[in-house]
Symmetry: C2
Subunit: 232 residues, 2 copies
């Protein structure tokens, strides 16, 4: 199957790129499906390709030598990921797991320098992606240093919801399956604490929980929790 330039027409990574430019980018890409829970690439593996998520949601997971897992971020549709080549790395620093069935564009690393030269705006967009991830990660360090678990979880939920929220009549729902354990691994806490807090928030009418489901019913109220300016 040949890739159509309309596939990537709306993506920020290709903004300001004309039709032929898009064709040039796509010429070296390959599209493939990844079923839920399969790995797109694996931490520590030789980085041979870089990727763009066309459809679905991907979880980026780091595992420590002792076996602890941490979720570094979720990748949304239209985002580049696994761009080790742009950072001059030869292995992937984390694993990428499909949170739902996904469609992914794959380029061989060899295409990178070529694309960089011929389509400079593509490379610039990649560097900006890395820059904003550095930014986000540093913000996370700050959060973990200065804020309590309750604020951190509230922030994490608001972040996910704003990036991958789907409006329903109940409120805004995270549109991929996410467990309490996942939320714990994003915020550096335990599933027990996450469960307790979500239950408490449910009683206050801020969120609604379910099996692998979270719906934020009162984003503004949750924001108040996140900023730690609660009543009393």
């Amino acid at each position: 199957m040949t890739l159509d330039r309309s596939l990537i027409a709306g993506l920020p990574a290709f903004a300001g790129l004309d039709g032929p430019g898009r064709d040039a980018v796509l010429a070296r890409a390959q599209s493939s499906r990844f079923p839920k829970d399969s790995e797109v690439f694996s931490q520590g593996a030789e980085a041979a390709s870089f990727f763009l998520l066309l459809a679905g949601h991907i979880r980026v997971v780091r595992t420590s030598p002792e076996g602890h897992q941490v979720i570094a971020r979720y990748i949304n549709e239209g985002e580049l990921f696994g761009i080790a080549v742009a950072m001059g790395r030869s292995t992937y620093p984390a694993s990428a797991v499909a949170a739902v069935d996904c469609v992914v564009l794959t380029w061989p690393n060899a295409a990178w320098s070529d694309l960089q030269a011929r389509v400079p705006s593509f490379a610039a967009s990649a560097y900006q992606t890395i820059g904003s991830r550095l930014q986000e990660t540093q913000a996370q360090v700050m959060e973990m240093s200065t804020q309590q678990v309750e604020q951190r979880i509230a922030h994490a939920l608001l972040r996910i919801v704003s990036q991958s929220g789907r409006k329903t009549d109940q409120g805004i729902e995270i549109d991929f399956p996410i467990t309490r354990q996942d939320i714990a691994e994003m915020t550096g806490t335990t599933l027990h604490t996450v469960s307790r807090l979500l239950s408490a928030w449910e009683d206050e009418g801020l969120v609604k929980g379910g099996r692998q489901r979270v719906v934020v019913t009162d984003p503004h109220g949750l924001m108040v929790v996140a900023e730690n300016r609660r009543r009393k």
Copy 2:
């Protein structure tokens, strides 16, 4: 004063660059001194330049809206910093403060795209710098999620010492002034806890403390602490 190409001859950022190439890079740079405790740039300020540290040590500090400070990293001699332009950012995400008297090379942002085109290895080195900082920061998030304060502080000390250590007859000394408070802000804890642990380690003969001074007398022993495999 004109800049001599020998200034940057040994730096990794300019490895694989010939003499004229180095001249081209230096032509647009300006050298200046920053006295101890002065700011090279300020968090949130318009990013107009990028920098390279020729001599000294620089502390990169982020301040939260509530006034909490976190030390993101220390910059060593020969490193690029404040390269917001390479990430497509228009403001500095943190402040840079001279930990000792420093000598800094400054380029206007306008020089970036020019240098990138004419001296590709320079740009590549910058991107690699950003990549490894992202890497480090993510590692820090993992540490904060999974390890205890004692291990985190031990790791932080070992990291500083390996990057900015100076050998003395006592052991390896951090060769810039660093307070317990600074160490606390690097590891997300309090100066009290840092002080207690350093005192304990001093009793065990692992380190030697002093006013704004830390000497690691037994790096291997400290490593054992960092890996959390202590006797008993």
